[in-house]
Symmetry: C2
Subunit: 451 residues, 2 copies
Amino acid sequence: MKEQVQLHKDQFIDELKQFLQIPSISALSEHKQDVQKAAKWLANSLEKIGMENVEVIETDGHPIVYGDWLHAEGKPTVLVYGHYDVQPSDPLELWETPPFDPVVRDGKIFARGATDDKGQLMIHVKAAELLMKENNGKLPINMKFCIEGEEEVASPNLSPFIQNNKEKLSADAVVVSDTSFINKKQPAICTSLRGALALEIKLKTANTDLHSGSYGGGVPNAVHSIVRLLESLHDEKGKVKVKGFYKGVPEPAGDLRKEVAEIPFDEEEMRNELEIEELYGEEGFTFNERTGIRPTLEINGVGGGFQGEGLKTIVPSEAVAKISCRLVGEQDPSEVYDRILEHVEKYKPSGSRVTIQKLIQAHPVSLDSKDPMIQKAADAYEKVYGVRPLFPKEGGSIPIVEVFARVLDAPVVLMGFGLNTENLHAPNEHFHLENFTKGIETVCEYLSDLS
Amino acid sequence: MKEQVQLHKDQFIDELKQFLQIPSISALSEHKQDVQKAAKWLANSLEKIGMENVEVIETDGHPIVYGDWLHAEGKPTVLVYGHYDVQPSDPLELWETPPFDPVVRDGKIFARGATDDKGQLMIHVKAAELLMKENNGKLPINMKFCIEGEEEVASPNLSPFIQNNKEKLSADAVVVSDTSFINKKQPAICTSLRGALALEIKLKTANTDLHSGSYGGGVPNAVHSIVRLLESLHDEKGKVKVKGFYKGVPEPAGDLRKEVAEIPFDEEEMRNELEIEELYGEEGFTFNERTGIRPTLEINGVGGGFQGEGLKTIVPSEAVAKISCRLVGEQDPSEVYDRILEHVEKYKPSGSRVTIQKLIQAHPVSLDSKDPMIQKAADAYEKVYGVRPLFPKEGGSIPIVEVFARVLDAPVVLMGFGLNTENLHAPNEHFHLENFTKGIETVCEYLSDLS
């Protein structure tokens, strides 16, 4: 397909530019119309290439775009998931060219959403277009598109939509291109995402801050109390001390450890880049294991008392901490939440009133790299790139992946074409056009191979 | 003197109102001229009553007002210290009447500075005026006034001024009215002030916050590290664990404990008022002892990572804590600072880079309640109020008191006429006029008795 892709390359890039010009920032209400516009542009795009039953489905938030082509009888069905919304673009002054005025420089297209996720999403649309063009309007397999406009605001409406539309969305594989290569030469299919549980702890001791002269040493200090409580969460070696926290965490088996060990990691380079004196974490595990297949409990922030310039001699009466866990295996975020509540109840210093609020939760997901739908994707990469993908375990969470896998009972194939260096969520976001065109080739190979 | 005070009461209150009308806020540069104006008004006031050598002495900040009358040969010399500057007045909307438009309601005069310290300072000016009027322009003792305009900004220029003017300021007693009664019916002469040492600890782990998905569990977390460090400062029972911290802290002797025990304290009332579930502190000591004659190390504030609304899943790279100690007896703030540095060096978790900045330090001061200059002040209170003062140990610090006591080698007599309920540093500050007039009587009695 290389020739066909090259033949249409300029047209594809022009269309991608059109898509990138729409500032579909889902987090900002002043861009609501732009998000709508992007949904319509995408729906129109799907119709133009020959997709059927194309809909812009309204939700309580931004719409979901659906389209399908289901005439490959007896052949597997692939559901493509992606998102047409983008992150906010500030700080604007750090962009070399305006975020919604896409420009090609050095073989990269610069714009907000270039790699996350409009560029990667368009790979599938253009692959479908090419396959149809080559086969008199027919696809080698059945195909569905389910593209949301709320990924950057934690997908509040997609999860119930999937639950309520199991039949409509049913597929043999869910294909997602929203992840990254290991590096420019090494493609990757992520097969594990950690789950998440985030909460906020508020601690109060008195109804007002008190003068540290008149009261210091005689009343509880909310900062002392939260420090004691937070310190109780880990042991000396960084293991989480919350009773029951590790329930459901699998003993890392040989195969998994092997796949993790294959992911290149240069400790010295990372330490130098981040100016970290030494790494840290659970004993007996490598950095890739600690961040990929082991759970963690991190305090994301703490605040209490006086934080301005200089000095205010108070005994603080309130303190707040934000905590988030990354979960793996069979860890259940609701259960972990209950265990943390019990821990706090037990370890909060006397004289402290504590309230806890759950902020988010998401199940972890593990995908079997041996699944044929994943192995065939790996074959396609190898054909196009000449290198077989690795199977990294991602420390972050894409909560909707677990929902797709569980509700549709289908493997999710995380066919990423991005690079970690492409400034996603940052100024000067870009996407390597080589991966755009080779991505289209790879997806064409994959879908053809599935037929 | 009661009659004479009553005779001139209206005039005295009118003059106090004039003084209170000047917004001499030392902390705000836009009020620099007002501070100057208050200094001149006060100097003029001292000259009018017959004080000599009156000067407005410029400093690097706001001026010091000096005046004396030294013709009582063979009699003791009393130096009056006070301050003519005031706290800022915001939040303005909470004042029932404007802060610099003094109003008398229910026997109280309402204005910023009414009790802290213009009203209490004027007690001494008016007492001197009355005594001179009664004795053909003569005072029964020698008198010096040294009044600063920077008390509310930590007296940066007074301490060197005292050091450089030992002779000029030398006295048999330094009299200060800037403290409070125990309650409306119970006068007090404070005989102990805790010292202070305040510092800021900054801790860094990496050069940027990191994504808690990709890095969580594998790199040091600055909030975890500061929590561990801060938790190491106290043992389970609230005792300070910094090695050498308690050096110089006296074993509380019988007399001292007795004086402290005499200060009324209603634990239940305090707990209810502040909504504190239970008190807290060093074992074996009462609340008054813990806050009056025992040292403490309080974390005044802590901050690190994300503190906004909702959630940001980061591994924080920086955290800051503010710490202040209150010191007693022979504790030396410089030495305590060194001990804390050693402690931090020893207990900072690996992978943390810590920088420490000293913010303030002040020596503690203990005054002997048996000193005749203090006992005679107690006699004067008893004559006027019918109740002998108690001798509370104040948990707060008035650093300049220790400088006066040490440099001039003279007892400091903390003859307070305020009440804790008079909203000092808060909206609707006021001063009970009964304590203004009785204060003048008390000071007249005291100075006459010293002759």
